[in-house]
C-alpha cells in the first residue's frame, strides 16, 4: 500500500477506533472505581442496545435524532460557522410540525399531514436560525453567542406557547392534544407487520429513512453543487471566497437556515413519529449531542451516521445500564459520553504521530510528493 493511502486509512478508520477504545478503557476504570464490574456493565449495555428487537428499535430511534443534529452542525461548520443552537432549533421546529398538524383538518390523509409536518419543522427550525444568522451577517454579533441565547429564548417561548396557547383543554400538563392518527409517522413495526414480518414494538419510525435521505442530500449539496463549493470555500478561506465573487453574508444566511431546518427535523422523529403530541423538552440533549456527533464524524455525512449510531447506542444501552445495575445512575451515561467526546474530539490526534511513525514510516529513497520545484 502506498504511504498516502495508509495515512488516509489511519486517519479515517484506525484513529477513531483507537480513540473510542481508549474512551471505553477509561470508562472501565471509572466503573471499577465505583465497584461495578466493567465487563458485566459492557454486557448489559450492549445487550440493552442490540440484544433484543425493542432495544435495537430504541437505539436506531435515538440515532435518528443524532443524525439530524449532527448534519445540522456539520453543514454550518463547513461554512466556518459554529451552530450551538441545535437545541433551540429542534425545539421550535417541533412547534412548526405541531402547528402544521393541529391546524389542518383532522380528516385529511397522511399524505398531507406527513409532508406538512416535515415542512413545518424545516420552516420553523430554519427561521429560528435565521435571526442569529442575520445578526451575524449584517450586525456582526457572534453566532456562537446568539445561538446559545436563542436556545434559552426557545425554551421560554415554548413554555409560554404550551401553557397558554396549545395546552389541551381541561388538562394541567403543558402539552398539546393528541395528533390525529392520520398524522402519525408510521412505526417501523407497523410497516413490517404490513409486509408480514412481526417485530417487537418500539418508537422506531420511518423518520430514520428521512434522516438517511437528508444525509445523502447534504453530501450531494456540499460536494456536488456550486453552492456547496461556495460554502466550503467560505469556511476554509473567507478572504479567498470574497475574491472569488462569493458573498459571505448570503452564505451565512443560507447555511444557517439549512442547519436550523435540519435540526428542526428532530421533532418529526420525536413528536410526529413517537409522542404524537407537542410536549415539553422532547429535544433535550440532542442539539448538543449533535456537536459531538459532527466532530466525531469529521463533518462528513457517512461519518455522522456512524457517530450517531455510537451515541444512539450509548443512549439506549446507558439507560438500560442505569435500570439494570444498582450503583449506576443515569449520570454515568453522561460520563461515558463525555469521555467519548474527550478522546474522539479534544484528543483526536493523540495517537496519530505514533501510528504514522510505526505504520507508515517514510522510506528513505521515496521521492518527495508534491514538493518539486
Amino acid at each position: 500500500m502506498k504511504r498516502d493511502t495508509r495515512i488516509t486509512w489511519i486517519n479515517r478508520l484506525l484513529l477513531p477506533l483507537l480513540n473510542i477504545l481508549t474512551a471505553f478503557a477509561v470508562t472501565a476504570i471509572v466503573f471499577w472505581l465505583i465497584d461495578v464490574n466493567p465487563i458485566e456493565a459492557a454486557e448489559v449495555l450492549l445487550y440493552g442496545a442490540f440484544g433484543y428487537e425493542e432495544g435495537i428499535g430504541y437505539t436506531i430511534y435515538y440515532t435518528t435524532n443524532f443524525i439530524f443534529t449532527g448534519l445540522a452542525v456539520a453543514v454550518a461548520f463547513h461554512a466556518g460557522l459554529f451552530n450551538i443552537g441545535g437545541e433551540g432549533q429542534a425545539y421550535v421546529g417541533g412547534l412548526g410540525a405541531g402547528l402544521a398538524i393541529l391546524f389542518l383538518d383532522p380528516t385529511l390523509g397522511a399524505w398531507v399531514f406527513i409532508p406538512a409536518s416535515i415542512i413545518g419543522a424545516l420552516l420553523f427550525g430554519g427561521l429560528w436560525a435565521l435571526i442569529p444568522a442575520y445578526l451575524q451577517a449584517y450586525r456582526g454579533s457572534h453566532i456562537v453567542i446568539t445561538t446559545i441565547m436563542f436556545n434559552f429564548l426557545a425554551a421560554s417561548l415554548m413554555v409560554y406557547v404550551m401553557v397558554h396557547v396549545l395546552r389541551e383543554t381541561g388538562q394541567m400538563t403543558p402539552q398539546s392534544e393528541l395528533f390525529p392518527t392520520n398524522a402519525w409517522m408510521p412505526f417501523v413495526h407497523d410497516v413490517a407487520a404490513g409486509f408480514g414480518y412481526s417485530i417487537e414494538a418500539s418508537p422506531l419510525n420511518l423518520s430514520v429513512l428521512l434522516a438517511l435521505v437528508c444525509a445523502v442530500l447534504v453530501w450531494f449539496f456540499l460536494w456536488q453543487t456550486r453552492w456547496g463549493y461556495a460554502i466550503r470555500a467560505t469556511g476554509k478561506n473567507g478572504t479567498a471566497a470574497v475574491y472569488g465573487g462569493i458573498k459571505p453574508k448570503r452564505i451565512i444566511i443560507v447555511v444557517m437556515c439549512i442547519s436550523g431546518a435540519l435540526a428542526g427535523l428532530v421533532s418529526v422523529n420525536e413528536l410526529v413519529g413517537y409522542q404524537h403530541r407537542l410536549i415539553m423538552d422532547f429535544h433535550l440533549g440532542y442539539g448538543f449531542g449533535g456537536i459531538a456527533v459532527a466532530l466525531m464524524g469529521r463533518n462528513h455525512p457517512l461519518g455522522i451516521i456512524v457517530a450517531a449510531l455510537l451515541f444512539g447506542t450509548l443512549y439506549q444501552g446507558g439507560a438500560e445500564l442505569a435500570f439494570e445495575m444498582s450503583g449506576i445512575s443515569r449520570d454515568i451515561v453522561v460520563v461515558m459520553q463525555g469521555l467519548v467526546i474527550l478522546f474522539c474530539g479534544a484528543l483526536e490526534y493523540m495517537y496519530r504521530p505514533w501510528l504514522i511513525r510505526n505504520l507508515a514510516p517514510v522510506k528513505q529513497q521515496e521521492a518527495p510528493t508534491g514538493v518539486t520545484a
Binding site: T225, R226, N237, T239, G244, G245, I246, V362, V371
Partner: protein, 534 residues
C-alpha cells in the same frame, strides 16, 4: 592562529531531512571572519533550513557546526545566541507598542525590576550606536519607526545580545533603494568592527555589490562557492537554476491603445477609517503593462482590491471596459470577472487559493458558477478536474495532479496555477500583484513572458510589484505609490533605480493627482519641476 580560527562559521557535511524531502544534503560552508558572505538559491533550495540549523531551530541529522573555531551542537536558539550568532528575520520580531529600549531588553531583562536593566541597556545601546553608526531614538515606540529603522532595531537587538555573527534573511525585501544603501553602509561599519555577516537573498545585484564571498545552493546542496569579484550575476543565476537564464525580459515596445480601465480620484479607507488610497487617478490602455511601484504597504493592496471590487471605495470613480462604478454603485468581484477583469492577488495563500482544497477546486475559485462546469444543479467533478488538467498543462504546473492539495505545491507552482486560472479565460484587463513573490528564477522568466504575451495580444495589464527590476523590465509605463498617493509617473524607458527610489520615498515634488500619463510622457527630471498643487 590555526586555519580553522580564520573561519567565523564552518559547517561540515550538514544533513537534514523532512520526511521524504532532503532539505540539506551534506552541506559544507566556510565563512571567513569579518567578511560579508552571501548565500543565494531558489526557494526550497535549503537556505532557510541551513540557517535554522545554524541558529538552533532545527537539529541536523548529521554534520558538524563550528563557530569561531569551536564545535557546537545547538539544541535551541539560546545556545546559538550564547555562541555569538544573531539573526535578523525577514519578518521583524518586535513588539509594536514597546519602545526601542524595551524591545531590545526583551528576553534579557536582568531581574524582576526593570529599572536597572533598562539603564544598563541604555548605556550599552548608546555605545553600540556610536561604534557601528546605528542611530535610533531609544525611547520611540516601534510603530512610529519606519521599516528601515525597525530593521536597525533588530540588528541592535542581536548586537546587544553579543552577536559576533549576524545572519540576515532577505533584509532588503521591505526597503526602498535608499534604505538599502543605508543598510549596506551599516554592513560596512559592522564589518570594520570585525562582525561577520551572512546575507541570504535572492537579489543578485545586492550580492554583487556588498558581499565578499558568495555560496550558491540548489536542491539541498551547496553547488558553488565564489569570490564575489570573480563571478557575475549571470553565472550565479545559472548556478542557482542549473541552466542558462534570461535576466532581461524579451519584449518589443508596447503600443498603448484605447483605455480599458479609467481610475479617477479614487480613495479607499480601511475599516478603521484610515485613508489608505488618496485621490489616485490613472488610465490603463489596451496593449500596455502599467507598473505600480512602491514600498510594500503604501496602498498597492488597496488599489488592487478596490479595482477588483473586493474592498469598497470611499470616493472617486472606476470605469472598467465601459462600465462605471463608484462608492454608491459598486460592482461585485463576480460581476467584474464576468465583464472581463481578472485579478491575480498579491498574497496567494490569503486570497489566491484555498490551501486546504485540491488543486482542481482551487483552480475553480471565482469560476464555480461557470455553466461549462455546471450541468443544472450538478457541479461536475469530472469537468472540474479536466479544467484543472488543461490549466496545468498550459502553464506547466508540476506535479500535474489535480487531486493534490493546493498547499502541497511549491510557491512557484501555486502561482502558475493561479496565473493559469486568471489568464486562460482571456480577460481584457488583468490586475496582477507580486506575480513572482517567492517564485524561483526559472518560473519568473516564464511568468514575465506570459505577461508580455498578454500585452502583445492587446490586453491591458496592471502590474503591482515591490521588485523594481521586475517593474522596470516588464512595464511600459510606471506609476509610483507612496503613502496612498501617486508620487510619480514615468515611462519605463526613462526609469532608473535612483529616480524610482526617490519617488517611492516621495522625495520628488508632488504632482497634480488628476494629471494622467498622457500629458506627461516626461522624464523624472521634469517631474520635479512640476508645479505643486495644493
Amino acid at each position: 592562529m590555526t586555519m580553522t580560527d580564520n573561519f567565523a562559521i564552518e559547517l561540515t557535511d550538514i544533513d537534514k531531512r523532512f520526511g521524504a524531502v532532503h532539505a540539506n544534503n551534506k552541506v559544507c560552508l566556510q565563512v571567513k571572519r569579518g567578511n560579508i558572505h552571501g548565500i543565494v538559491g531558489e526557494n526550497g533550495a535549503g537556505k532557510s533550513t541551513l540557517m535554522s540549523i545554524l541558529y538552533g531551530f532545527y537539529q541536523a541529522d548529521a554534520g558538524q557546526i563550528d563557530v569561531l573555531g569551536q564545535a557546537y551542537t545547538f539544541t535551541d536558539s539560546h545556545q546559538a545566541i550564547a555562541a555569538g550568532i544573531g539573526m535578523v528575520h525577514q519578518h521583524f520580531m518586535l513588539v509594536e507598542n514597546f519602545t526601542v529600549l524595551e524591545n531590545v531588553i526583551l528576553g534579557s531583562e536582568g531581574g524582576a525590576l526593570l529599572a536597572h536593566g533598562l539603564a544598563a541597556a541604555r548605556k550599552e545601546l548608546t555605545r553600540l550606536g556610536d561604534e557601528y553608526g546605528l542611530k535610533v531614538d531609544l525611547d520611540a515606540t516601534i510603530d512610529t519607526l519606519s521599516v528601515g529603522l525597525q530593521q536597525r532595531v533588530e540588528i541592535l537587538k542581536a548586537l546587544y545580545k553579543g552577536a559576533k555573527i549576524l545572519i540576515l534573511d532577505e533584509p532588503t525585501g521591505v526597503l526602498t533603494p535608499q534604505e538599502t544603501d543605508e543598510l549596506f553602509r551599516i554592513f560596512g561599519a559592522l564589518k570594520q568592527q570585525g562582525v561577520t555577516i551572512m546575507l541570504i537573498t535572492h537579489k543578485l545585484r545586492e550580492i554583487m555589490s556588498i558581499t565578499d564571498q558568495v555560496s550558491v545552493m540548489r536542491a539541498g546542496q551547496m553547488v558553488a562557492h565564489r569570490d564575489t569579484q570573480a563571478t557575475s550575476r549571470e553565472e550565479l543565476a545559472e548556478l542557482m537554476v542549473g541552466r542558462k537564464v534570461l535576466l532581461q525580459v524579451n519584449k518589443k515596445p508596447g503600443n498603448g491603445r484605447a483605455p480599458l480601465l479609467k481610475v479617477k480620484r479614487l480613495s479607499v479607507s480601511d475599516n478603521q477609517g484610515i485613508e489608505r488610497l488618496k485621490d489616485v487617478s490613472f488610465e490603463l490602455r489596451a496593449g500596455e503593462v502599467l507598473g505600480v511601484a512602491g514600498v510594500s504597504g503604501n496602498g498597492q493592496t488597496e488599489l488592487l482590491e478596490a479595482l477588483s471590487g473586493i474592498v469598497p471605495m470611499t470616493s472617486g470613480t472606476i470605469e472598467v471596459l465601459g462600465f462605471k462604478m463608484d462608492a454608491k454603485h459598486p460592482l461585485t468581484p463576480d460581476r467584474l470577472r464576468e465583464l472581463g477583469l481578472a485579478h491575480v492577488p498579491e498574497d496567494r495563500h490569503r486570497m489566491g487559493l484555498i490551501t486546504d482544497f485540491s488543486a482542481s477546486e482551487s483552480a475553480l475559485l471565482g469560476y464555480h458558477t461557470d455553466p461549462k462546469i455546471n450541468s443544472g444543479i450538478w457541479l461536475s467533478n469530472r469537468k472540474v478536474e479536466a479544467n484543472c488538467q488543461a490549466l496545468m498543462q498550459s502553464f506547466d504546473v508540476r506535479p500535474a495532479d489535480p487531486h493534490l492539495k493546493s498547499a502541497n505545491f511549491s510557491g512557484g507552482n501555486q502561482q502558475k496555477l493561479i496565473l493559469a486560472r486568471e489568464m486562460e479565460r482571456n480577460p481584457e484587463v488583468l490586475l496582477i500583484g507580486q506575480p513572482t513573490r517567492g517564485v524561483d528564477i526559472g518560473a519568473i522568466e516564464f511568468i514575465h513572458q506570459r505577461i508580455i504575451d498578454m500585452r502583445d495580444a492587446g490586453k491591458a495589464v496592471l502590474l503591482v510589484s515591490v521588485e523594481l527590476d521586475e517593474i522596470m523590465s516588464v512595464s511600459d509605463r510606471i506609476i509610483v505609490l507612496c503613502d496612498g498617493e501617486i508620487s510619480g509617473r514615468i515611462d519605463a524607458a526613462d526609469a532608473d533605480e535612483r529616480t524610482l527610489g526617490m519617488m517611492m520615498a516621495n522625495a520628488l515634488d508632488p504632482i497634480d493627482p488628476l494629471q494622467t500619463m498622457d500629458d506627461q510622457h516626461a522624464s523624472s527630471g521634469q517631474a520635479s519641476s512640476q508645479e505643486t498643487q495644493a
